[in-house]
Protein backbone atom coordinates (compact mmCIF):
# COMPACT_ATOMS: atom_id res chain seq x y z
CA UNK A 1 0.00 0.00 0.00
CA UNK A 2 0.95 3.57 -0.54
CA UNK A 3 -0.54 5.81 2.08
CA UNK A 4 -0.63 9.57 1.63
CA UNK A 5 -1.84 11.96 4.33
CA UNK A 6 -2.10 15.65 3.60
CA UNK A 7 -2.80 17.98 6.51
CA UNK A 8 -5.22 15.68 8.33
CA UNK A 9 -6.98 17.48 11.17
CA UNK A 10 -9.35 16.25 13.83
CA UNK A 11 -11.04 18.12 16.65
CA UNK A 12 -13.34 16.88 19.38
CA UNK A 13 -15.66 18.82 21.68
CA UNK A 14 -13.85 19.62 24.90
CA UNK A 15 -15.02 17.88 28.05
CA UNK A 16 -17.57 19.84 30.04
CA UNK A 17 -19.97 22.50 28.87
CA UNK A 18 -17.64 25.09 27.50
CA UNK A 19 -18.57 24.54 23.86
CA UNK A 20 -14.87 24.63 23.08
CA UNK A 21 -12.98 21.93 21.25
CA UNK A 22 -9.67 20.15 21.42
CA UNK A 23 -7.57 19.79 18.31
CA UNK A 24 -6.21 16.23 18.52
CA UNK A 25 -4.69 16.12 15.05
CA UNK A 26 -3.21 19.43 13.91
CA UNK A 27 -2.28 18.64 10.34
CA UNK A 28 -0.75 15.20 9.83
CA UNK A 29 1.14 14.75 6.60
CA UNK A 30 2.93 11.65 5.38
CA UNK A 31 3.72 9.82 2.17
CA UNK A 32 4.86 6.24 2.47
CA UNK A 33 6.62 4.15 -0.10
CA UNK A 34 4.93 1.03 -1.43
CA UNK A 35 5.08 -0.85 1.86
CA UNK A 36 3.34 -3.70 3.64
CA UNK A 37 3.66 -2.68 7.27
CA UNK A 38 3.35 0.79 8.72
CA UNK A 39 3.80 1.26 12.46
CA UNK A 40 2.66 4.36 14.35
CA UNK A 41 4.42 5.11 17.61
CA UNK A 42 4.42 8.06 19.96
CA UNK A 43 3.44 9.30 23.41
CA UNK A 44 -0.04 8.62 24.78
CA UNK A 45 -2.51 11.31 23.82
CA UNK A 46 -0.42 12.27 20.82
CA UNK A 47 -3.09 11.30 18.29
CA UNK A 48 -2.03 7.81 17.11
CA UNK A 49 -5.33 6.13 17.86
CA UNK A 50 -7.34 9.05 16.53
CA UNK A 51 -5.44 8.79 13.27
CA UNK A 52 -5.91 5.03 13.09
CA UNK A 53 -9.69 5.36 13.63
CA UNK A 54 -9.82 7.75 10.70
CA UNK A 55 -7.78 5.43 8.48
CA UNK A 56 -10.07 2.52 9.44
CA UNK A 57 -13.14 4.50 8.35
CA UNK A 58 -14.60 4.76 11.85
CA UNK A 59 -14.30 8.53 12.16
CA UNK A 60 -14.30 11.37 9.66
CA UNK A 61 -11.50 13.92 9.93
CA UNK A 62 -12.38 17.62 10.11
CA UNK A 63 -9.95 18.44 7.38
CA UNK A 64 -7.17 17.21 5.13
CA UNK A 65 -6.93 14.47 2.53
CA UNK A 66 -6.08 10.78 2.75
CA UNK A 67 -5.46 8.28 0.00
CA UNK A 68 -4.56 4.62 -0.17
CA UNK A 69 -2.83 3.60 -3.39
CA UNK A 70 -4.02 6.79 -5.02
CA UNK A 71 -7.69 6.36 -4.13
CA UNK A 72 -9.17 8.91 -1.75
CA UNK A 73 -10.56 7.57 1.52
CA UNK A 74 -14.34 8.13 1.36
CA UNK A 75 -15.89 10.66 3.74
CA UNK A 76 -19.60 9.89 3.30
CA UNK A 77 -21.33 7.26 5.47
CA UNK A 78 -22.02 4.87 2.62
CA UNK A 79 -18.48 5.05 1.27
CA UNK A 80 -16.99 4.53 4.70
CA UNK A 81 -19.21 1.51 5.31
CA UNK A 82 -17.95 0.00 2.04
CA UNK A 83 -14.38 0.79 3.11
CA UNK A 84 -14.87 -0.80 6.54
CA UNK A 85 -16.13 -3.92 4.79
CA UNK A 86 -12.89 -4.15 2.84
CA UNK A 87 -10.52 -3.64 5.76
CA UNK A 88 -10.22 -5.06 9.28
CA UNK A 89 -9.78 -3.33 12.63
CA UNK A 90 -8.52 -4.65 15.96
CA UNK A 91 -8.99 -2.65 19.16
CA UNK A 92 -7.00 -2.38 22.36
CA UNK A 93 -9.97 -3.57 24.42
CA UNK A 94 -10.74 -6.48 22.00
CA UNK A 95 -14.40 -5.39 21.74
CA UNK A 96 -15.60 -8.92 21.17
CA UNK A 97 -19.36 -9.34 21.36
CA UNK A 98 -19.89 -10.75 24.87
CA UNK A 99 -23.28 -12.30 24.12
CA UNK A 100 -21.84 -14.51 21.36
CA UNK A 101 -19.39 -17.42 21.53
CA UNK A 102 -15.93 -16.92 20.08
CA UNK A 103 -17.04 -18.88 17.01
CA UNK A 104 -20.15 -16.75 16.53
CA UNK A 105 -18.03 -13.64 16.83
CA UNK A 106 -16.09 -14.88 13.81
CA UNK A 107 -19.19 -15.96 11.90
CA UNK A 108 -21.08 -12.69 12.38
CA UNK A 109 -19.24 -10.63 9.74
CA UNK A 110 -19.00 -13.58 7.35
CA UNK A 111 -22.72 -14.36 7.50
CA UNK A 112 -24.27 -10.91 7.90
CA UNK A 113 -21.86 -8.72 5.95
CA UNK A 114 -20.28 -11.02 3.41
CA UNK A 115 -23.34 -13.19 2.88
CA UNK A 116 -21.78 -16.61 3.34
CA UNK A 117 -24.01 -19.42 4.54
CA UNK A 118 -23.36 -20.48 8.12
CA UNK A 119 -21.92 -23.70 6.78
CA UNK A 120 -19.49 -21.98 4.41
CA UNK A 121 -18.55 -19.57 7.18
CA UNK A 122 -17.78 -22.40 9.61
CA UNK A 123 -15.67 -24.03 6.94
CA UNK A 124 -13.79 -20.78 6.41
CA UNK A 125 -12.89 -20.24 10.08
CA UNK A 126 -11.98 -23.82 10.99
CA UNK A 127 -8.44 -23.79 9.70
CA UNK A 128 -7.42 -20.38 11.11
CA UNK A 129 -8.90 -21.29 14.52
CA UNK A 130 -6.81 -24.44 14.57
CA UNK A 131 -3.65 -22.76 13.38
CA UNK A 132 -3.71 -20.17 16.13
CA UNK A 133 -4.51 -22.75 18.80
CA UNK A 134 -8.03 -21.49 19.39
CA UNK A 135 -10.12 -24.44 18.17
CA UNK A 136 -10.72 -25.70 21.72
CA UNK A 137 -11.99 -22.28 22.80
CA UNK A 138 -14.34 -21.63 19.89
CA UNK A 139 -17.46 -22.47 21.86
CA UNK A 140 -16.64 -20.31 24.85
CA UNK A 141 -18.05 -16.85 25.46
CA UNK A 142 -15.49 -14.02 25.59
CA UNK A 143 -15.97 -13.82 29.38
CA UNK A 144 -14.43 -17.28 29.68
CA UNK A 145 -11.32 -16.51 27.61
CA UNK A 146 -7.98 -15.06 28.72
CA UNK A 147 -6.98 -11.63 27.46
CA UNK A 148 -4.56 -13.12 24.95
CA UNK A 149 -7.17 -15.53 23.64
CA UNK A 150 -9.70 -12.71 23.36
CA UNK A 151 -7.31 -10.57 21.37
CA UNK A 152 -6.37 -13.45 19.06
CA UNK A 153 -10.07 -14.13 18.43
CA UNK A 154 -10.55 -10.41 17.78
CA UNK A 155 -7.70 -10.47 15.26
CA UNK A 156 -9.22 -13.51 13.58
CA UNK A 157 -12.61 -11.78 13.44
CA UNK A 158 -11.00 -8.96 11.50
CA UNK A 159 -8.99 -11.39 9.40
CA UNK A 160 -11.42 -14.08 8.25
CA UNK A 161 -13.12 -11.69 5.84
CA UNK A 162 -9.79 -11.39 3.96
CA UNK A 163 -9.33 -7.64 4.49
CA UNK A 164 -7.02 -5.73 2.17
CA UNK A 165 -5.49 -3.91 5.17
CA UNK A 166 -5.55 -4.80 8.86
CA UNK A 167 -5.58 -1.89 11.34
CA UNK A 168 -4.41 -2.72 14.86
CA UNK A 169 -4.84 -0.16 17.65
CA UNK A 170 -2.48 -0.98 20.53
CA UNK A 171 -3.46 -4.66 20.40
CA UNK A 172 -1.24 -5.66 23.33
CA UNK A 173 -1.60 -2.68 25.67
CA UNK A 174 -4.14 -4.44 27.88
CA UNK A 175 -2.18 -7.70 28.12
CA UNK A 176 0.43 -9.09 30.49
CA UNK A 177 3.88 -9.97 29.03
CA UNK A 178 3.09 -13.61 28.31
CA UNK A 179 -0.13 -12.85 26.48
CA UNK A 180 1.56 -9.95 24.73
CA UNK A 181 4.06 -12.44 23.36
CA UNK A 182 1.34 -14.72 21.96
CA UNK A 183 -0.44 -11.84 20.27
CA UNK A 184 2.75 -10.33 18.85
CA UNK A 185 3.72 -13.76 17.54
CA UNK A 186 0.41 -13.93 15.72
CA UNK A 187 0.85 -10.46 14.24
CA UNK A 188 4.35 -11.36 13.10
CA UNK A 189 3.00 -14.44 11.38
CA UNK A 190 0.43 -12.32 9.55
CA UNK A 191 3.15 -9.97 8.41
CA UNK A 192 5.27 -12.89 7.19
CA UNK A 193 2.28 -14.10 5.18
CA UNK A 194 2.37 -10.76 3.39
CA UNK A 195 -0.66 -9.12 5.03
CA UNK A 196 -0.81 -5.34 4.86
CA UNK A 197 -0.79 -3.94 8.38
CA UNK A 198 -1.08 -0.54 10.03
CA UNK A 199 -0.17 -0.97 13.68
CA UNK A 200 -0.24 1.39 16.64
CA UNK A 201 1.96 0.04 19.42
CA UNK A 202 4.20 0.82 22.35
CA UNK A 203 6.30 -2.32 21.73
CA UNK A 204 9.34 -0.64 20.20
CA UNK A 205 11.47 -3.71 19.60
CA UNK A 206 8.58 -5.43 17.94
CA UNK A 207 7.87 -2.32 15.89
CA UNK A 208 11.40 -2.30 14.59
CA UNK A 209 11.20 -5.99 13.65
CA UNK A 210 7.97 -5.85 11.68
CA UNK A 211 7.79 -2.32 10.32
CA UNK A 212 8.72 -1.36 6.79
CA UNK A 213 8.22 2.24 7.79
CA UNK A 214 7.58 3.90 11.14
CA UNK A 215 5.90 7.20 11.87
CA UNK A 216 6.28 9.17 15.11
CA UNK A 217 2.99 10.82 16.03
CA UNK A 218 3.28 13.43 18.77
CA UNK A 219 1.23 16.44 19.73
CA UNK A 220 -1.11 16.00 16.78
CA UNK A 221 1.44 15.92 14.00
CA UNK A 222 3.66 13.33 12.34
CA UNK A 223 6.95 14.57 13.59
CA UNK A 224 9.21 11.99 12.00
CA UNK A 225 8.82 9.17 9.57
CA UNK A 226 11.05 6.75 7.74
CA UNK A 227 12.30 3.19 7.22
CA UNK A 228 12.56 1.25 10.48
CA UNK A 229 16.34 1.08 10.93
CA UNK A 230 17.02 4.71 10.11
CA UNK A 231 14.08 5.76 12.32
CA UNK A 232 15.68 4.17 15.37
CA UNK A 233 19.37 4.67 14.59
CA UNK A 234 19.26 8.30 13.50
CA UNK A 235 16.27 9.95 15.24
CA UNK A 236 15.16 12.85 13.09
CA UNK A 237 14.18 15.26 15.86
CA UNK A 238 15.29 15.84 19.47
CA UNK A 239 11.83 14.94 20.75
CA UNK A 240 11.91 11.59 18.96
CA UNK A 241 15.40 10.96 20.34
CA UNK A 242 14.12 11.67 23.87
CA UNK A 243 11.06 9.50 23.30
CA UNK A 244 13.14 6.56 22.08
CA UNK A 245 15.56 6.99 24.96
CA UNK A 246 12.70 6.80 27.46
CA UNK A 247 10.84 3.85 25.98
CA UNK A 248 13.91 1.80 25.12
CA UNK A 249 15.61 2.36 28.46
Amino acid sequence: MKLVLDGVRQRFPAAGRGGGSVEVLRGCSLATGDIRTLVLVGPSGGGKSTLLRILAGLDVPCGGAISFDGAALPRDARGRLAWRRRVGTVFQAYNLFPHLTALDNLLLPLVHVHRLSRREARERVREPLARFGLADHAHKRPGQLSGGQKQRIAILRALVVEPSILFLDEPTSALDPEMTAEVLEMIRELRDQGRQLVLVTHQMRFARKVADEIAFVADGVIEAHGPADAFFDQPATPRLARFLETVLA
Binding site: N95, V113, A158
Partner: protein, 246 residues
Protein backbone atom coordinates in the same frame (compact mmCIF):
# COMPACT_ATOMS: atom_id res chain seq x y z
CA UNK B 1 -30.95 -27.71 49.40
CA UNK B 2 -33.74 -27.11 46.90
CA UNK B 3 -36.21 -29.07 49.10
CA UNK B 4 -35.19 -26.94 52.09
CA UNK B 5 -35.78 -23.74 50.13
CA UNK B 6 -39.24 -24.88 49.09
CA UNK B 7 -40.09 -25.91 52.64
CA UNK B 8 -39.00 -22.54 54.07
CA UNK B 9 -40.93 -20.64 51.41
CA UNK B 10 -44.06 -22.72 52.08
CA UNK B 11 -43.76 -22.02 55.80
CA UNK B 12 -43.47 -18.28 55.19
CA UNK B 13 -46.50 -18.30 52.88
CA UNK B 14 -48.46 -20.17 55.55
CA UNK B 15 -47.39 -17.59 58.15
CA UNK B 16 -48.62 -14.67 56.01
CA UNK B 17 -51.92 -16.48 55.37
CA UNK B 18 -52.19 -17.05 59.13
CA UNK B 19 -51.83 -13.31 59.72
CA UNK B 20 -54.77 -12.57 57.43
CA UNK B 21 -56.80 -15.29 59.11
CA UNK B 22 -55.91 -13.86 62.54
CA UNK B 23 -56.97 -10.38 61.42
CA UNK B 24 -60.28 -11.77 60.20
CA UNK B 25 -60.77 -13.68 63.44
CA UNK B 26 -60.07 -10.55 65.49
CA UNK B 27 -62.84 -8.56 63.79
CA UNK B 28 -65.19 -11.53 64.10
CA UNK B 29 -65.57 -11.76 60.37
CA UNK B 30 -68.51 -13.88 59.26
CA UNK B 31 -67.32 -15.83 56.21
CA UNK B 32 -69.80 -16.42 53.39
CA UNK B 33 -67.94 -18.23 50.64
CA UNK B 34 -71.11 -19.88 49.24
CA UNK B 35 -72.63 -16.54 48.25
CA UNK B 36 -69.52 -15.51 46.36
CA UNK B 37 -69.10 -18.95 44.74
CA UNK B 38 -72.36 -18.27 42.84
CA UNK B 39 -70.57 -15.51 40.97
CA UNK B 40 -67.49 -17.53 39.99
CA UNK B 41 -68.20 -17.07 36.30
CA UNK B 42 -68.12 -13.31 36.71
CA UNK B 43 -64.69 -13.59 38.34
CA UNK B 44 -63.44 -15.77 35.51
CA UNK B 45 -64.70 -13.42 32.81
CA UNK B 46 -63.19 -10.42 34.56
CA UNK B 47 -59.90 -12.23 35.04
CA UNK B 48 -59.77 -13.18 31.35
CA UNK B 49 -60.47 -9.57 30.38
CA UNK B 50 -57.57 -8.47 32.58
CA UNK B 51 -55.32 -11.07 30.94
CA UNK B 52 -56.22 -9.98 27.41
CA UNK B 53 -55.94 -6.25 28.11
CA UNK B 54 -52.64 -6.74 29.96
CA UNK B 55 -51.21 -8.81 27.10
CA UNK B 56 -52.18 -6.15 24.58
CA UNK B 57 -50.70 -3.39 26.75
CA UNK B 58 -47.59 -5.49 27.33
CA UNK B 59 -46.92 -5.66 23.59
CA UNK B 60 -47.92 -2.04 23.09
CA UNK B 61 -45.76 -0.65 25.88
CA UNK B 62 -42.79 -2.78 24.80
CA UNK B 63 -42.98 -1.35 21.28
CA UNK B 64 -43.33 2.19 22.60
CA UNK B 65 -40.39 1.59 24.93
CA UNK B 66 -38.01 0.42 22.19
CA UNK B 67 -39.14 3.06 19.68
CA UNK B 68 -38.99 5.84 22.25
CA UNK B 69 -35.52 4.83 23.43
CA UNK B 70 -34.28 4.73 19.82
CA UNK B 71 -35.77 8.20 19.22
CA UNK B 72 -33.93 9.51 22.29
CA UNK B 73 -30.65 8.16 20.86
CA UNK B 74 -31.28 9.62 17.43
CA UNK B 75 -29.86 13.02 16.66
CA UNK B 76 -33.26 14.49 15.77
CA UNK B 77 -34.15 17.32 18.15
CA UNK B 78 -37.86 17.01 17.29
CA UNK B 79 -38.03 13.26 17.95
CA UNK B 80 -36.14 13.72 21.18
CA UNK B 81 -38.49 16.49 22.34
CA UNK B 82 -41.60 14.50 21.39
CA UNK B 83 -40.46 11.53 23.48
CA UNK B 84 -39.10 13.55 26.40
CA UNK B 85 -42.31 15.55 26.82
CA UNK B 86 -44.43 12.41 26.49
CA UNK B 87 -42.40 10.60 29.14
CA UNK B 88 -42.49 13.53 31.58
CA UNK B 89 -46.23 14.11 31.10
CA UNK B 90 -47.12 10.48 31.67
CA UNK B 91 -44.76 9.89 34.56
CA UNK B 92 -45.82 13.11 36.24
CA UNK B 93 -49.57 12.45 36.28
CA UNK B 94 -51.67 9.69 37.90
CA UNK B 95 -52.93 6.87 35.69
CA UNK B 96 -56.42 7.62 36.98
CA UNK B 97 -56.28 11.12 35.47
CA UNK B 98 -54.87 9.77 32.21
CA UNK B 99 -57.68 7.24 31.97
CA UNK B 100 -60.38 9.84 32.54
CA UNK B 101 -58.92 12.38 30.09
CA UNK B 102 -57.85 9.72 27.59
CA UNK B 103 -61.20 8.00 27.53
CA UNK B 104 -63.75 10.78 27.97
CA UNK B 105 -61.89 13.41 25.95
CA UNK B 106 -59.32 11.93 23.54
CA UNK B 107 -61.01 8.64 22.67
CA UNK B 108 -64.37 10.38 22.23
CA UNK B 109 -62.80 13.12 20.10
CA UNK B 110 -61.22 10.62 17.70
CA UNK B 111 -64.36 8.49 17.64
CA UNK B 112 -62.85 5.50 19.41
CA UNK B 113 -65.90 3.96 21.03
CA UNK B 114 -64.63 0.53 22.05
CA UNK B 115 -63.67 1.11 25.65
CA UNK B 116 -61.56 -2.07 25.78
CA UNK B 117 -59.38 -0.92 22.91
CA UNK B 118 -59.18 2.57 24.39
CA UNK B 119 -58.29 1.13 27.79
CA UNK B 120 -55.54 -1.07 26.37
CA UNK B 121 -54.14 1.91 24.41
CA UNK B 122 -54.09 4.24 27.41
CA UNK B 123 -52.48 1.54 29.51
CA UNK B 124 -49.85 0.98 26.77
CA UNK B 125 -49.07 4.70 26.68
CA UNK B 126 -48.85 4.82 30.47
CA UNK B 127 -46.57 1.83 30.87
CA UNK B 128 -44.67 2.71 27.66
CA UNK B 129 -43.34 5.91 29.25
CA UNK B 130 -41.63 3.86 31.95
CA UNK B 131 -40.43 1.36 29.35
CA UNK B 132 -38.78 4.19 27.38
CA UNK B 133 -36.68 5.06 30.40
CA UNK B 134 -35.81 1.42 31.04
CA UNK B 135 -34.76 0.79 27.43
CA UNK B 136 -32.90 4.10 27.23
CA UNK B 137 -30.84 3.00 30.21
CA UNK B 138 -30.25 -0.40 28.62
CA UNK B 139 -29.06 1.09 25.33
CA UNK B 140 -26.85 3.62 27.10
CA UNK B 141 -25.20 0.81 29.06
CA UNK B 142 -23.74 -0.74 25.89
CA UNK B 143 -20.08 0.37 25.78
CA UNK B 144 -18.87 2.49 22.89
CA UNK B 145 -16.44 -0.29 21.95
CA UNK B 146 -19.37 -2.49 20.95
CA UNK B 147 -20.61 0.14 18.50
CA UNK B 148 -17.05 0.54 17.21
CA UNK B 149 -16.62 -3.20 16.70
CA UNK B 150 -19.99 -3.52 14.97
CA UNK B 151 -19.07 -0.68 12.61
CA UNK B 152 -15.56 -2.04 12.08
CA UNK B 153 -16.75 -5.44 10.86
CA UNK B 154 -18.98 -3.64 8.38
CA UNK B 155 -22.44 -4.01 9.92
CA UNK B 156 -24.94 -1.38 8.76
CA UNK B 157 -26.40 0.82 11.51
CA UNK B 158 -29.59 -1.27 11.47
CA UNK B 159 -27.62 -4.53 11.71
CA UNK B 160 -25.52 -3.14 14.57
CA UNK B 161 -28.65 -2.32 16.48
CA UNK B 162 -30.36 -5.62 15.78
CA UNK B 163 -27.41 -8.05 16.10
CA UNK B 164 -25.14 -6.37 18.63
CA UNK B 165 -26.86 -3.68 20.70
CA UNK B 166 -30.36 -5.05 21.21
CA UNK B 167 -29.40 -8.56 22.40
CA UNK B 168 -27.07 -7.07 25.00
CA UNK B 169 -29.51 -4.38 26.05
CA UNK B 170 -32.27 -7.01 26.38
CA UNK B 171 -30.31 -8.83 29.04
CA UNK B 172 -29.74 -5.62 30.98
CA UNK B 173 -33.37 -4.50 30.90
CA UNK B 174 -34.90 -7.89 31.66
CA UNK B 175 -35.29 -7.47 35.45
CA UNK B 176 -36.73 -3.92 35.36
CA UNK B 177 -38.99 -4.84 32.41
CA UNK B 178 -40.39 -7.81 34.35
CA UNK B 179 -41.10 -5.48 37.27
CA UNK B 180 -42.77 -2.97 34.97
CA UNK B 181 -44.96 -5.68 33.43
CA UNK B 182 -46.08 -6.80 36.87
CA UNK B 183 -46.99 -3.19 37.64
CA UNK B 184 -48.88 -2.98 34.36
CA UNK B 185 -51.01 -6.00 35.22
CA UNK B 186 -51.87 -4.52 38.61
CA UNK B 187 -52.44 -1.03 37.18
CA UNK B 188 -55.01 -2.47 34.78
CA UNK B 189 -57.30 -2.65 37.85
CA UNK B 190 -57.85 1.10 37.45
CA UNK B 191 -59.58 0.47 34.12
CA UNK B 192 -62.67 -0.22 36.23
CA UNK B 193 -63.18 3.57 36.46
CA UNK B 194 -64.02 3.74 32.77
CA UNK B 195 -66.44 0.83 33.25
CA UNK B 196 -64.32 -1.89 31.66
CA UNK B 197 -65.50 -5.22 33.07
CA UNK B 198 -62.11 -6.42 34.13
CA UNK B 199 -61.13 -8.41 37.17
CA UNK B 200 -61.31 -5.66 39.79
CA UNK B 201 -64.67 -4.37 38.60
CA UNK B 202 -65.97 -7.95 38.72
CA UNK B 203 -64.88 -8.28 42.35
CA UNK B 204 -66.43 -4.93 43.24
CA UNK B 205 -69.70 -5.99 41.68
CA UNK B 206 -69.70 -9.35 43.44
CA UNK B 207 -69.06 -7.50 46.68
CA UNK B 208 -72.00 -5.21 46.11
CA UNK B 209 -74.27 -8.17 45.33
CA UNK B 210 -73.20 -10.35 48.28
CA UNK B 211 -71.90 -7.87 50.88
CA UNK B 212 -68.99 -10.30 51.29
CA UNK B 213 -66.00 -8.07 50.84
CA UNK B 214 -63.16 -10.34 51.96
CA UNK B 215 -64.54 -13.28 49.97
CA UNK B 216 -64.57 -10.98 46.93
CA UNK B 217 -61.20 -9.33 47.41
CA UNK B 218 -59.08 -12.28 48.54
CA UNK B 219 -59.76 -14.15 45.25
CA UNK B 220 -58.98 -10.84 43.54
CA UNK B 221 -55.54 -10.74 45.15
CA UNK B 222 -54.99 -14.41 44.30
CA UNK B 223 -56.00 -13.80 40.68
CA UNK B 224 -53.40 -11.04 40.25
CA UNK B 225 -50.74 -13.18 41.92
CA UNK B 226 -51.51 -15.95 39.43
CA UNK B 227 -50.36 -13.54 36.72
CA UNK B 228 -47.50 -11.71 38.42
CA UNK B 229 -45.77 -14.66 40.12
CA UNK B 230 -45.16 -16.65 36.91
CA UNK B 231 -43.86 -13.42 35.40
CA UNK B 232 -41.10 -13.14 38.01
CA UNK B 233 -40.31 -16.83 37.64
CA UNK B 234 -40.00 -16.56 33.86
CA UNK B 235 -37.90 -13.42 34.21
CA UNK B 236 -35.55 -15.20 36.62
CA UNK B 237 -35.29 -18.13 34.25
CA UNK B 238 -34.48 -15.93 31.24
CA UNK B 239 -31.99 -13.96 33.26
CA UNK B 240 -30.05 -17.10 34.10
CA UNK B 241 -30.31 -18.35 30.55
CA UNK B 242 -29.00 -15.14 28.97
CA UNK B 243 -26.33 -14.68 31.57
CA UNK B 244 -22.85 -13.91 30.28
CA UNK B 245 -19.95 -11.98 31.69
CA UNK B 246 -19.76 -8.60 30.05
Amino acid sequence: MQARRIAVHAAVVAAYAGLIWLAAARVDYAWNWEGVWEYREMFLKGWLATVVISLAALVGSGLIGVLGAVCLQSRSLVLEAVVRVYVELIRGTPLLVQLLIGFYLVATAIGLENRYVAGALILSLFSGAYMVEIFRGGLAAIPRGQHDAAAAIGLSPWQSFWLVVLPQAARIVLPPVAGQLASLIKDSSLLSVIAISEFTLAAQEVNSFTYSSLESYLPLAAGYLMLTLPLSWIAGLLERRFHFEA
